[in-house]
Every structure is written in C-alpha cells, then in structure tokens.
C-alpha cells in the first residue's frame, strides 16, 4: 500500500511539468494519471484551489452576517426580524436556484452554502428572539437536516462537509445532554453514498470511518446504561480495538478492488488502522494498565469475548477475500482475542508483569516485521513505522522499567537478540537473492 497514491494531485502536477519540459508526451502523462485514477486534463485545469477559496469566501460572508445579527438586535420589532430572516434565507436560495438553472454549478453551490449558513443563523436567532431554551441541540439537528438534501442533490463535497460538521456537533451536544443521537446513521448513510459512489474525498471518508466507530461506541454505552444513560466501561476499549482490527481487514479488501477510489481509501484506512494498533500496543506496554485490566469487574465477560471474536472474524474474512494476505490481520486478531481471554482468566495482579513482558516483545517483533516488510516491498512508511515502534518501545522501557534494573536489562538483551537475529536473517536473505 504505497502512499504515493494519496499524492495524486502532485503526480498530475509533475506530469504537467514533464510534458512542458518535453520529458514525456501528453499521451504518456495521461496514461500515468490513469494508473492512479485521475483525469490528467481536469487535474491540470487546477479548479480545486478556486473552489476552496470560493467556499471559504462564502463561509466568511455567512459568519459576518451571523455575528452581526446575533448581537441581539433588540431595537427592531420581533415580526420584522422574523420576516427579515425568512427573506434573507429564501432569497439567497432562490438566487442559487437561478444560477443552477443557468448551469453555473460552482456559483450555485457556493450560494446554497451561504443560504444554508443563513438558514442556521435564522434557527438560532428565532430561538433568541423568543428566548427559547428548550433543548437547543434540536436547532443544530434541524440545521443539519436542512442542508443534507442540498449536499446529496448537488453531489457537493462542500455541502456534505457542512452537513457532517453540524451532524457531529449535534451528536456530541445531544449525547452530552444524555440523549442518544438515534438518527445519526441517516447522516452516515448519505456520507457513505457520497464518498463511495459520488466523489472521492479522504477527509470525508475518514469522517465516515470515525463517525461509524463513535456511533457504535456510544450505542454500546447506551445499551450498557440500560437505555437511558451513557455508561462508558472497559468494554468500550475492547470494542474500539476490535473495530480497528475489522477496519484493518476491510482496508485490505478495499485495496484489492479495481476501482482506484476504493484502493486509495484502503491505503488511508490501512495506514491509520496499523498506526492505531501500534499505538494501542504502546499504551499496553505499561504494567499498571495490565493490573487495572486484571482487577476489572467485567459487566459481561462472555459478551466481550464474543464481541472480540466477531470483530476478528470480520477483519480476517475481509482480509482473506481481499488479497489473501491475511497474516497481519490474523496475528493482531489472535493476539487480541487470546490476550483478552487470558486477562479475564487471571485474578492476581502479580501476573501483570508477564503480560507486560509479552506485550513488549510483541512490540519489538511488530517493529521488526514492519522494517522487513518496508524494505522488501520498498514501502517507506512501513519502514519508518517499524523504526518508530522499536525506538518508542526502547524509550518507554528506559523511562518506565520492567520490574527492577536487572529485569529491564534482561528485556533490553532480549530486544537486542531479536533485532540482531532479524538483521542476520535479512543479510542471508539478501545473499540468497543475489545468488539466484
């Protein structure tokens, strides 16, 4: 999974320069861009920057009007204020509609974006005029609901982004007031349709991945809180790790698809899933955390194991049906399920030290695996992630010793043996390759 895929615009820009310098022909530039799923001609038109600046411009016009109006314009009669808000929102939208009819799509999208900001400002200002303080997340929800169809109909990433920003704010404000944001999946469904079927956007794709994970986490907490409050417990951490194992497998499946858009998404997801798993292992490399886990009162240990197994099976299946290279997902899944089972079966926190030692050895092995994979497949991010993993493990264990000084020294010796053995293996592997 090479990260060069994620730098498509740079590839297109380089190709334009090479064509200018007569290094390659336009036809060759087109073929190179095709390989990464970009339209060479469209990419060299550079409309992206224009669209971003226009969007930001409209955003600031909207913010200016909202700030001006929200200064509690007390002197104007209520009915005039109300009428003014309706007129401002409607006239902006009608002007946008006119532009759409004239086929000036980018201008129409910009105006709909501005009209949607006015719409949101109107919701807030009506609440101000009439001193409404009755569950204010509803205002944010209806703002998001009002923008959602515009984004879907115009297939605009700008309007979908606005919808999702509002939807996420609503999600956290609503759950912060102890209400379950039941309707959030509607926004996720439209977002999924947009990123998978309409337009490529890494940011929106990652929003979908995060949104889905957060929603499922909160749903679990709501369920554990008997359906009327959020109850965050250790099961949420188990769920989160499981979800990332499933995401890791899913990323491999995406990478094996023909559609370049899906391949790119797979690359991004795989990268972040891997980073998350290494980060989790680094967190678990402290003994106090294992002590906490051993002492944990599991609400339902059987449910947690089943959950872990289900996520692992999903991850491994995706990985297997993708490119058949399922060993990394399988290794993480086995570690996850076995580790969880073992920690549930342990009742004395004296054994936390053993869990910690095994976890640290796993980290070093993962680091070596990443370095070897990085060199073998010429993928630099694997190489650097491997180096970072090993250095971070060494640093953490130097600051936070395993057991006493003798124990720490023994662990460092074990690390050295693993690393030196890997180096020797690598050298002999290279020699055999050269001979053949």
């Amino acid at each position: 999974m090479r990260l060069i895929r994620l730098l498509k615009r740079d590839i297109a820009k380089e190709c334009t320069d090479w064509v200018k310098d007569s290094i390659i022909s336009e036809d060759q530039a087109s073929k190179i861009c095709d390989r990464y799923g970009i339209d060479y001609k469209k990419a060299s038109e550079q409309t992206y920057g224009y669209a971003v600046l226009m969007g930001l411009g409209y955003l600031f016009i909207g913010l200016a009007v909202i700030t001006l109006l929200s200064a509690n314009w007390d002197d104007i009669p209520r009915s005039i204020r109300m009428l003014g808000l309706l007129l401002l929102t409607t006239s902006t939208h009608l002007f946008a509609l006119k532009k759409y009819k004239e086929n000036q799509i980018p201008t129409a999208i910009g105006l709909f974006f501005l009209g949607s900001l006015f719409y949101g400002a109107s919701i807030m200002l009506i609440a101000q005029i009439y001193h409404i303080d009755e569950h204010y997340p509803n205002g944010i929800f209806w703002w998001a609901v009002g923008v959602l169809p515009l984004g879907a109909l115009l297939q605009s990433s700008l309007l979908i982004s606005l919808t999702m920003v509002l939807a996420f704010i609503w999600f956290f404000v609503e759950s912060g007031l102890n209400y379950f944001p039941m309707l959030f999946p509607i926004f996720l469904a439209v977002l999924a349709w947009h990123v998978f079927k309409v337009k490529q956007s890494y940011v929106l794709f990652l929003s979908f991945v995060v949104g889905l994970g957060v929603y499922l986490e909160y749903a679990l907490s709501w369920w554990m809180g008997d359906g009327y409050r959020f109850n965050f417990e250790i099961e949420n951490a188990v769920f989160c790790i499981g979800l990332f194992i499933a995401y890791h497998g899913f990323s491999k499946w995406l990478v094996s698809q023909k559609d370049p858009k899906l391949v790119d998404y797979g690359t991004v997801l795989g990268l972040w899933a891997l980073r998350f798993m290494i980060f989790t292992l680094l967190i678990l490399s402290f003994d106090w955390l294992w002590e906490e886990l051993i002492e944990t009162n599991w609400i339902n240990s059987g449910f947690s194991i089943v959950l872990a197994a289900v996520f692992s099976i999903i991850g491994v299946c995706f990985s297997y049906f993708g490119n058949r290279q399922f060993y990394s997902t399988l290794s993480f899944a086995l570690l996850y399920v076995f580790g969880l089972y073992m920690v549930m079966q342990t009742y004395d926190d004296i054994y936390a030290l053993y869990f910690q030692i095994v976890n640290n050895i796993v980290l070093i092995i993962a680091g070596v695996w990443l370095i070897v994979k990085g060199i073998k497949e010429s993928v630099t991010h694997y190489f650097f992630l491997g180096v970072t993993t090993i250095l971070a493990t060494g640093l953490l264990r130097y600051i936070d010793l395993v057991g006493d000084y003798i124990g720490a020294s023994i662990l460092f010796i074990i690390f050295a043996v693993i690393l030196l053995s890997a180096a020797r293996f690598w050298k002999s592997h290279q020699r055999s390759l050269q001979k053949s």
């Binding site: 001193h131 303080d133 204010y136």
Partner: protein, 170 residues
Amino acid sequence: MKLDNKKIMYGLIATIALQLAVLIMEYGNAVYPLLTGTEIKIKVVPVDPRSLFRGNYARLNYDISRVSLPEESRAPRVNEVIYVKLKQDRDGLYFEEGVSLSKPDSGLFIKGRARHAHSRDVQVRYGIEAFFAPKEKALDLERELRAGGVAIIKLTKNGKPALLDIVANK
C-alpha cells in the same frame, strides 16, 4: 450516479421549502404559548453565561428549578418529564404546590425535564432558563436583578411555558 436536471430542480425546491417549514414551525412553536397561554409570574434569579451558538444571554434560575418529589414516588431518570403544579400566593406570584411524574388531571401546571437522576430532589429545566440580550444589557439585567425579580411567563394548558419578560424587584 446522475439524476436528471429536472428532478434535481424539484429536489432543490423541496429542500428550500423544507428549510422554510422548519423555520415557520420553530416560530409557531415559540409563538403558540404567547398567544394562547395564561400569564403567570414566578420569582427569578439570573446568572450570566455566553453560548457559542446562541449569543449572549442571562441564565435564569427559578424557585421552581429545584423541587422534591413525594416519598411515594420513584426517583426520576435523567431527562424524564416532570410536572410541577402551581398555585398563586397573595402577592400574585406562583409557587410550587406539588410535583409528579404523571400529568395532573386539573389545575395549572408547568412541564419540565429532570437534570439529575437517582434522587427525589430534582433539578428541573423548563426551557425558559435563558433570557437573550446584548452583552451590556445582559450584565445590566444581572445587576438589576441582584435583589431578585419576577419572570412573566405564558403557560399553555398542557404545561408548555414561554418566557415573556423579566421585571426587577423595586
């Protein structure tokens, strides 16, 4: 996936109508108690915060913001609906006469939601706890109301309140 232009146009018009409908419904919901409700007066004390989304306002605390459920009642869940029966005193101010988790059959009552669970002493929100005003006016109001004040509220038959005004004690 591409929709034809005509369908998109209809969809856009429907969305604009939806946005207008949301604004009109919000307006109607705000105005309905003001037009049809019974006017009552309740003692009030302000505090002054600012909301990122909603501008400046004085946060109001009423005598009826903290109530106690009778012993035979269970403790409410967070956000559960609470009904507070109201009675007028000799000064014309309204005070709490009883609290329940079910809708009273008769009399004047106000509907709110419990903010805290697992106790019969409940902090209740009625949706009339914010009085929006420019920053300076909100601060003036806070100063004027230090000695206490009265909130003028309109109350519908089903207990929905709307805040009309606040008057400082003289």
